[in-house]
């Protein structure tokens, strides 16, 4: 798997109302990598994700997945949204099966894969529950299982834990890290939370707003054997503070 984002710019509107949202974004993502884009609101990080998903088209530049140009959404790029992530009228299992049945896979295969991926996210017991009967964290796990069930080459996570309480958020971060270790998935995470990005991603791009652009890239080398310990360890806190002050200076330069 090789995702290549090359010199991508995006502007919305036309003529005098034309607004540049992204300027000259370039990066690469390869199999098994976990990458994060961090930025404040208005940095266009969600737009990057929508461009990769094919929900928007770049104004300039190109996005290639395994040599093929991204023109429209497809199941090779699974996506998890922050809100309205599940279909409220379908049970957890039916939500996971949704993409598979859209693709017209046969019933036995759908049943088998649904059970498998519900198990992967630890929700085999919740198969028959409706989304409103699930907690926020469980809902996002179902959404991740649904995205994984169609075997995407890359998982796109748009602030997936942004609406959750702090405690649930931390356990979901540990869950996602374990999932990444066990399944070897490739993921691109959008977040405004530096801690979340440093905990999970091997590469972190810091984005600046107006127009959105990548201003700094960190290769994170931390011992991730115990995330709970890592959160309070000295090297982690130092790195976090360094990036936080960078983000602050970006905001400051705008005032």
């Amino acid at each position: 798997m090789h995702l290549q984002v090359s010199n991508v710019s995006k502007s919305f509107g036309e003529g005098r109302d034309c607004k540049l949202v992204l300027e000259n974004i370039s990066f690469e993502l390869v199999s098994g990598q976990f990458m994060a884009l961090v930025g404040s609101s208005g940095s266009g990080k969600s737009t990057v994700m929508r461009l990769i998903a094919g929900l928007e088209r770049p104004s300039e530049g190109t996005i290639h997945l395994d040599g093929e140009r991204v023109q429209r959404p497809g199941s090779d790029r699974g996506m998890v949204f922050q809100k309205y992530s599940l279909y409220p009228w379908l049970t957890a299992a039916q939500n996971v099966a949704f993409g598979l049945s859209l693709q017209g896979r046969d019933k036995a295969e759908i049943r088998e894969r649904t059970a498998y991926f519900l198990d992967v996210v630890g929700l085999a017991d919740a198969a028959r529950l409706l989304p409103r009967e699930l907690s926020g964290g469980m809902q996002q796990r179902v959404a991740i299982a649904r995205a994984l069930a169609t075997e995407p080459k890359v998982l796109l996570l748009d602030e997936p834990f942004g609406a959750l309480d702090l405690q649930i958020r931390e356990s979901m971060q540990e869950f996602l890290h374990d999932l990444w270790k066990t399944t070897g998935l490739t993921a691109l995470l959008i977040t405004h939370d530096i801690e979340e990005a440093l905990l999970l991603a091997g590469t972190v791009h810091i984005m600046a707003p107006r127009p959105g652009r990548i201003v700094h890239t960190v290769a994170v080398q931390l011992d991730r054997s115990d995330l709970r310990h890592l959160r309070v360890s000295q090297p982690f806190l130092e790195l976090r503070e360094e990036l936080a002050s960078r983000l602050r200076s970006l905001d400051g330069s705008l005032l």
Partner: protein, 258 residues
């Protein structure tokens, strides 16, 4: 005032309160008529209305009238609802169709449907067609515009999720948009069904051989206020049953939305 919590809970139950409200009006009606305060010709008592009703029932008029009115309402409303669904969805999903049709529908919606009766009689005569058409005209534009609004409020995330799962075209409509708007569509139908009932009575007051509205206008000619009350109560009861039917359907089919 009420000390016992159990009694208090019982008295505050929605069903108990609802029945209480009905009973109060009924008792006031009974007292006003039985005390002789009001002329029986203007306000017949519950007993007289019951007699007039059972008399009509035994003659078979009541059932025949009810069936005639129900048929008109259902025929007109089924056509209206059936056409409003695809057109409303098309307007809600396609901007061009929306811009094309919304001003037109917004305009016609504000034309009072009963004002079309003279035209409908000139065009279609005095048979069933003009009455069915009246119900159609009176509900179609409301149905369509309300369904369009429901479609516009489908969260884009739900559609985009389906797109990123490999869905496109018609399945998005049938498997994402349709289930999401189902509760609002049922509610739209429930609300506009009430205007369909208003209109069928209006149509029958103008021209009809049978029907609950026709019976009321005949009763007026002979000053039979008891029969007018029979007609009003029966119309109210049928409306209530339809309304409850829609609510029941909504609870069964769209339990996720409650």
């Amino acid at each position: 005032m009420v000390r016992s919590p159990a009694l208090r809970r019982f008295l505050h139950h929605p069903w108990v309160l609802g029945v209480l409200g009905l009973l109060t009006v009924f008792v006031m009606w009974f007292l006003a008529t039985s005390s002789g305060m009001v002329d029986k010709l203007f306000l017949p008592g519950p007993g007289a209305v019951w007699l007039a009703g059972s008399d009509q029932f035994q003659q078979g008029i009541l059932v025949k009238d009810a069936i005639a009115s129900i048929q008109r309402v259902f025929l007109g409303f089924v056509i209206s609802a059936g056409l409003a669904l695809p057109i409303g969805i098309a307007m809600g999903t396609n901007r061009t169709i929306c811009y094309l049709l919304e001003p037109l529908m917004g305009l016609i919606r504000y034309m009072p449907a009963p004002a079309f009766i003279p035209l409908l009689i000139i065009y279609f005569g005095l048979e069933e067609l003009p009455k069915v058409m009246l119900i159609f005209i009176g509900t179609f534009f409301f149905n369509t515009l309300m369904i369009m609004d429901a479609v516009k409020f489908v969260p884009s995330e739900l559609v985009e999720t389906a797109l990123t799962l490999g869905g496109r075209g018609l399945p998005i409509l049938t498997r994402v948009v349709a289930p999401f708007i189902a509760p609002q569509v049922l509610d739209t139908y429930r609300i506009n069904m009430a205007s369909a009932w208003n209109l069928v009575i209006v149509a029958e007051l103008v021209a009809a051989n049978e029907g609950l509205g026709k019976r009321i206008s005949l009763a007026q000619r002979f000053l039979r206020t008891d029969e007018i009350f029979v007609g009003l109560i029966v119309i109210g009861l049928i409306g209530l049953i339809i309304d409850l039917g829609f609510r029941f359907l909504m609870r069964r089919a769209c339990s996720w939305a409650n």
